[in-house]
């Protein structure tokens, strides 16, 4: 009897802990807790200001419920026109520039010096947010959509060239090998072995970037790079929350339409 009682199995099961070592687990929890308390403590909130602002919030919500499209319609139209043309032009130019850079940044087809240069360009373009680039370009090119176009093209290069390079590095090597076996040169390999494999994804990514560029074009106007962001900023400065709400609703609608249609085109391409 006593022998069978010795092999007693646990009656309950508990989940394995998140981190095995107990001291490390507790140190992590404690560290997180201390950081949270300190950082929450460092946030200064002027509750009187918040209380006074609440009725602006209410007015803004009202503006959303009854948006005013008409009184600033001319400005909205100009802003939208700038934003949309800026988006299209910058995506086209950005894609055109990022294709050679993307090819150059793929280790399997580019020699090392070119690879290093192209990767450096990509890193440079990716490390700064659009808004900072926009500040610099506005200082150089003056106010207006051309600065915005430059910013978005620059940002597109980093995004698209990186993803394209990764795509080229991930291609099915046997197809490239087969084309190479026919005695094809470098250009022919790129054209017949690599281009057909990456083209559908490149088009998909370009459409995705078109979408992103429109969203960004709504932001860079805040620092003077033209587009609907400038109109929105003006509306906010004038406390015309109903016009601002109308602009935001238009932005959301266009983004939704772009997302839906680009999904449709991508499905059609495959």
């Amino acid at each position: 009897m006593s022998a069978s009682a010795a092999t007693s199995y646990p009656r309950t099961w508990t989940r394995p802990p998140f981190v095995k070592r107990a001291w490390l687990r507790w140190a992590l929890y404690l560290g997180a807790l201390v950081y949270l308390i300190v950082s929450v403590g460092s946030v200064e909130v002027n509750w009187v200001r918040v209380w006074e602002g609440l009725d602006r919030g209410v007015r803004f919500v009202q503006g959303f419920l009854v948006p005013d499209f008409t009184s600033r319609w001319e400005d909205i139209l100009i802003g939208m026109e700038e934003s949309l043309t800026m988006t299209v032009a910058s995506t086209v130019v950005g894609v055109l520039i990022s294709v050679p850079i993307g090819i150059g940044a793929a280790r399997n087809i580019a020699p090392l010096p070119i690879y290093a240069i192209c990767r450096a360009i990509i890193a440079l373009s990716r490390s700064f947010q659009e808004i900072i680039v926009a500040i610099l370009f506005v200082a150089m090119f003056g106010f207006g959509p051309l600065a915005g176009f430059m910013t978005l093209s620059f940002a597109t290069i980093g995004f698209l060239a990186k993803l394209l390079a990764e795509d080229i590095e991930d291609i099915d090597e046997s197809q490239a090998e087969a084309v190479r076996a026919t005695g094809a040169g470098w250009w022919q390999i790129v054209n017949y072995a690599i281009q057909p494999q990456v083209m559908p994804r490149l088009i998909g990514l370009s459409l995705y970037r078109l979408d992103i560029n429109f969203r960004e074009s709504a932001v860079i106007g805040i620092v003077g790079a033209g587009g609907i962001g400038a109109t929105l900023n003006t509306a906010m400065d004038r406390y015309e929350y109903d016009s601002a709400a109308a602009i935001l609703i238009l932005i959301i609608l266009i983004v939704m339409a772009a997302e839906y249609s680009s999904g449709y085109v991508r499905k059609w391409l495959q």
């Binding site: 946030v43 919030g57 200082a139 959301i252 939704m256």
Partner: protein, 269 residues
């Protein structure tokens, strides 16, 4: 008797396809030229041709960086990190219920609740955090709080979208196994659904935190606290040597946060 003639050369497409393709490209080029013209209606080309000189001028003003400005940037840096971290945390609390309402297999009602959740996700995603900050600075006043809420609002859509996709992809067999033990609804959630999405959840959180660090560095441009506030101040007085220091600090912060998030994601997955 072999009279089957083969073409000597191989073509990817037929002539008709080729023509259509060229037509498509032509249309794209024409559209681009049209957009370019409309966009540059009001461009003053004298300013544009002046751009290289302006760039040189700004470049020469930006060096040498004013390094003794660096210590006074530590407090805004702390604020920036606080905005990103607390904003992410706040977003998680709001995004998790939204994600469970949006996922087809956990939503209480496909017809009424799911569209509302999807609408929340879409609106939060299509408005950039800077625009959220612009609104919130007007409503709750300038400062770190507006930044935190802006980051949180922007992140809800992102986190909820990725999370609800993860929830929809869970393995139904495990859910069934747990429910076969007689587990209640809450227990099924706790033991079958949550463990399956936890790695994805942690990965999404860290990923978004990394993006939020990036975004919170510039939120100050519209008055929402952090490093951007100092950037705005320096730009307003054209103190380019200070701007250089801020740029370098932003770059280092972004690189470090990217490294941290890559490490953590690597450890989780």
């Amino acid at each position: 008797m072999s009279d089957t003639q083969f073409d000597k050369s191989w073509q990817k497409r037929t002539t008709k396809q080729e023509l259509l393709l060229w037509l498509g490209w032509l249309a794209l080029v024409a559209f681009f030229v049209f957009c370019w013209e409309v966009m540059n209606k009001n461009t003053i080309w004298a300013f544009v041709s002046d751009a290289p000189r302006q760039a040189m001028d700004i470049g020469s003003r930006m060096v040498p960086p004013r390094w003794d400005y660096l210590p006074s940037l530590m407090e805004p840096l702390w604020d920036t990190i606080a905005i990103a971290t607390l904003g992410t945390l706040m977003a998680l609390f709001m995004a998790v219920p939204v994600a469970f309402m949006a996922a087809r297999n956990t939503t209480p009602s496909t017809r009424f609740v799911r569209p509302v959740a999807l609408l929340i996700i879409v609106s939060s995603r299509s408005i950039n955090s800077l625009i959220w900050a612009l609104l919130l600075v007007a409503i709750i006043g300038p400062g770190v709080m507006a930044g935190i809420v802006a980051i949180a609002f922007r992140s809800i859509g992102f986190v909820a979208k990725l999370l609800y996709e993860a929830i929809e992809e869970i393995d139904a067999v495990q859910v069934e196994a747990v429910s076969a033990t007689g587990a209640s609804k809450a227990q099924i959630m706790d033991y079958a659904v949550v463990p399956q999405i936890l790695p994805a959840f942690a990965g999404i959180t860290v990923f978004r935190w990394d993006i939020n660090i990036r975004e919170s560095t510039v939120l100050g441009l519209v008055g929402a606290g952090g490093l951007g506030l100092r950037l705005q101040e320096s730009l307003n007085v054209l103190a380019w040597p200070q701007v250089t220091v801020i740029f370098i600090l932003i770059l280092i912060t972004v690189l470090v946060s990217e490294w941290v998030s890559a490490k953590v994601r690597h450890a989780i997955i």
